[in-house]
């Protein structure tokens, strides 16, 4: 089994719900983003166009970050999900440089509350346990939800259903069919990292 994600840019409205859902599900502290939406402009007036590029860890089949990690803290779990072992990470930052997708966050500070004047909320107190300082963080495809048979938070929340998630090895899955029929593109294929996140439509 290999989990994969197709993002249909034709459907993406740039609402940012995926980034917010990720923050909500994983309680990432300020300054740490596992999922982002890059909003940019192409063309010039009167033909200028606003475009959206949602990004996250590409969970590559040949992850450059895993190769770079000096302690083996980055590993690939069942389903081809690239993970970071919090106990083994020394926080050197080499994987952050190695990742061509800028998907890794360097969380070198103690997680701080979003509203410092009010201190940490009960949600933050509970969530920040998984965000010890000095570590590298990244998207896990919400592995804890997958283990319960659910979809990743960003997929479940996307209001325009621009994210299609599933098993790339199952030819009957929607994600595999989309790849076979519509040939979505992976980012930076020339680096041969073989990402499992694909993009449909122009970007």
């Amino acid at each position: 089994m290999r989990y994969g994600l197709v993002i249909d840019l034709g459907r993406c409205t740039g609402c940012g719900a995926c980034a917010v859902a990720c923050k909500g599900e994983n309680a990432t502290p300020p300054g740490v983003f596992w999922s982002r939406v890059h909003i940019y402009e192409t063309g010039t007036y009167p033909h200028a166009k606003l475009r959206f590029l949602p990004t996250l860890c590409m969970h590559c089949d040949e992850p450059a970050c895993e190769k770079a990690c000096p302690t083996g803290a980055t590993w690939v779990r069942h389903g081809g999900i690239v993970m970071v072992n919090n106990e083994q990470c020394i926080g050197c930052g080499y994987c952050v440089w190695a990742c061509p997708y800028q998907a890794r966050a360097l969380n070198r500070e103690e997680a701080r509350p979003y509203h410092p004047a009010h201190g940490c909320t009960p949600f933050e107190k509970l969530g920040y346990v998984a965000h010890a300082k000095g570590l590298i963080e990244k998207c896990t495809f919400c592995a804890h939800l997958l283990d319960r048979g659910e979809q990743p938070a960003c997929v479940a929340t996307c209001p325009s259903r621009a994210r299609i998630f599933g098993d790339l090895d199952d030819p009957e899955s929607e994600v595999a069919r989309l790849i076979a029929e519509r040939h979505p593109r992976a980012r930076l294929p020339e680096l041969e990292t073989r990402p499992k996140v694909f993009y449909l439509g122009g970007c």
């Binding site: 890059h38 895993e66 302690t71 930052g93 103690e110 000095g134």
Partner: protein, 427 residues
């Protein structure tokens, strides 16, 4: 102790005490007050790490000219070169240790190494190199330690302990020790080449960063290590130990060697810059434009090009007979090499493979605009101060220039049978 060593000690204490606040901040508050983050994960301390690692490798490779290749011209500064390499290695590793998110897990790179990672190779090579330096230093000086035990006092007692039961030279002993040093040095040369070329490779293997992803990098690292390490050794020999002109010959020879290495380094730099600026690919061009015309342009033009490469190259050629000028110009080059190292690390972030991604959210630690925080500079000051203090302490304690410091040492190489290897010197 010589007056110049007292001045170095005072400078070391000044830097060290000045930097104490930064070290307290780093240990007390972690990385909160630093300006690096996810956008620029490696910053000022990594600049100084590769700077000091280069100085160490360069100084060590010059010592190997004596103990491995039998170049007797540098014989009297051989121990000094080994000790300088050791201090620079420890300083470099301190910088990278302070840069880690989890400093106290550093041992995991030894216990759980991932040998597909160039960084894991580095740690193992450093460990081997560190042991070689310790071993070489001890075998070079242990007979002197034993002999100086008789002098008594704090120094005599300390050296007596460090002799670990060695007896003073009986004639054969020193020659035997030098053979051990030759073996250690022979192992150390490929180690030093591997780890410093490897530091270059650490950057060069990252296909995600086109600025670093060049085969020239490991070679450039080695050449500039030799040039900067040679310049440091020259500056130390002249400014700290050449009081009465007894080291004039060594300083002149070192000056010529540094000049040659700087010349090769300049050619390498020109090759790299021209090749990267020629194609229209912004991934290659942008980091060079950043270093030449960005907010830290002076690190390229003044420090790197002016003080490290072109200035000393011209100066060392014009003033090649004057030990005083050679020492001073070497010091200028050593300081300037900070700029060369700065421009290896920091422009690496100037190009994103997905342009603008780091601007997706307004958050300081995601920004690519980096300028070192006061805390970062203070830590640099503290570490350099500590290095100076340790160097002066070592220069006081150890017979770095032989037992009768400053005078010609005995013809130890020939007694060790190394003279056969001696390179014919052209006067």
């Amino acid at each position: 102790m010589r007056r110049r060593l007292w001045i170095a000690l005072a400078l070391g204490l000044l830097f060290g005490l000045g930097g104490l606040a930064g070290l307290i901040d780093r240990f007390g508050n972690g990385h909160i007050n630093a300006n690096y983050g996810s956008g620029v994960p490696w910053a000022l301390w990594v600049v100084f790490y590769i700077y000091f690692i280069g100085l160490s490798a360069g100084a060590f490779l010059i010592s190997s000219l004596v103990y491995v290749f039998g170049v007797r011209r540098f014989e009297r500064v051989g121990r000094l070169a080994v000790f300088t390499a050791l201090i620079c290695l420890i300083t470099a590793l301190s910088f990278i240790w302070l840069d880690l998110g989890h400093m106290f897990r550093a041992y995991r790179t030894i216990l759980n190494p991932n040998f597909r990672s160039p960084m894991a190779w580095m740690i193992w090579l450093y460990s081997g190199y560190f042991l070689i330096l310790l071993g070489e230093g001890w075998f070079l000086m242990r007979r002197d330690f034993a002999a100086m035990r008789a002098q008594g006092g704090v120094r005599g007692r300390l050296l007596g302990v460090l002799a670990f039961g060695t007896r003073p030279d009986t004639g054969q002993g020193q020659a035997r020790d030098l053979r051990v040093v030759r073996v250690l040095g022979t192992i150390g040369v490929p180690l030093a080449v591997a780890f410093h070329g490897g530091v270059g490779a650490l950057f060069a293997v990252l296909a995600s960063r086109p600025y670093w992803n060049t085969g020239l990098f490991p070679v450039m690292f080695l050449i500039s290590a030799l040039a900067s390490g040679g310049a440091l050794l020259t500056a130390i020999t002249q400014l700290l130990f050449n009081r009465d002109g007894s080291f004039d010959d060594e300083v002149r020879s070192l000056g010529r060697l540094v000049l040659l290495l700087l010349f090769v380094d300049v050619i390498m730099e020109i090759a790299e810059i021209l090749i990267s600026l020629y194609p229209s690919s912004p991934a290659h061009r942008a980091p060079f434009e950043e270093q030449m015309f960005g907010p830290y342009w002076w690190t390229f033009w003044i420090l790197g090009l002016g003080m490290a490469l072109v200035g000393p190259s011209i100066g060392l050629f014009v003033a090649r007979r004057s030990p005083r000028w050679i020492g001073l110009l070497s010091l200028v080059a050593v300081i300037g090499f900070v700029g060369v190292r700065w421009n290896i690390v920091l422009p690496g972030y100037a190009n994103e493979l997905i342009p603008g991604l780091n601007m997706a959210y307004a958050e300081t630690k995601l920004s690519l605009a980096y300028s070192p925080a006061n805390m970062e500079w203070l830590v640099v000051s503290g570490a350099i101060g500590a290095a100076l203090v340790f160097f002066v302490a070592g220069a006081w304690l150890f017979p770095l220039l032989g037992r009768e410091q400053g005078k010609k040492v005995e013809d130890t190489l020939s007694t060790a049978g190394l003279a056969d290897l001696a390179v014919k010197e052209v006067e």
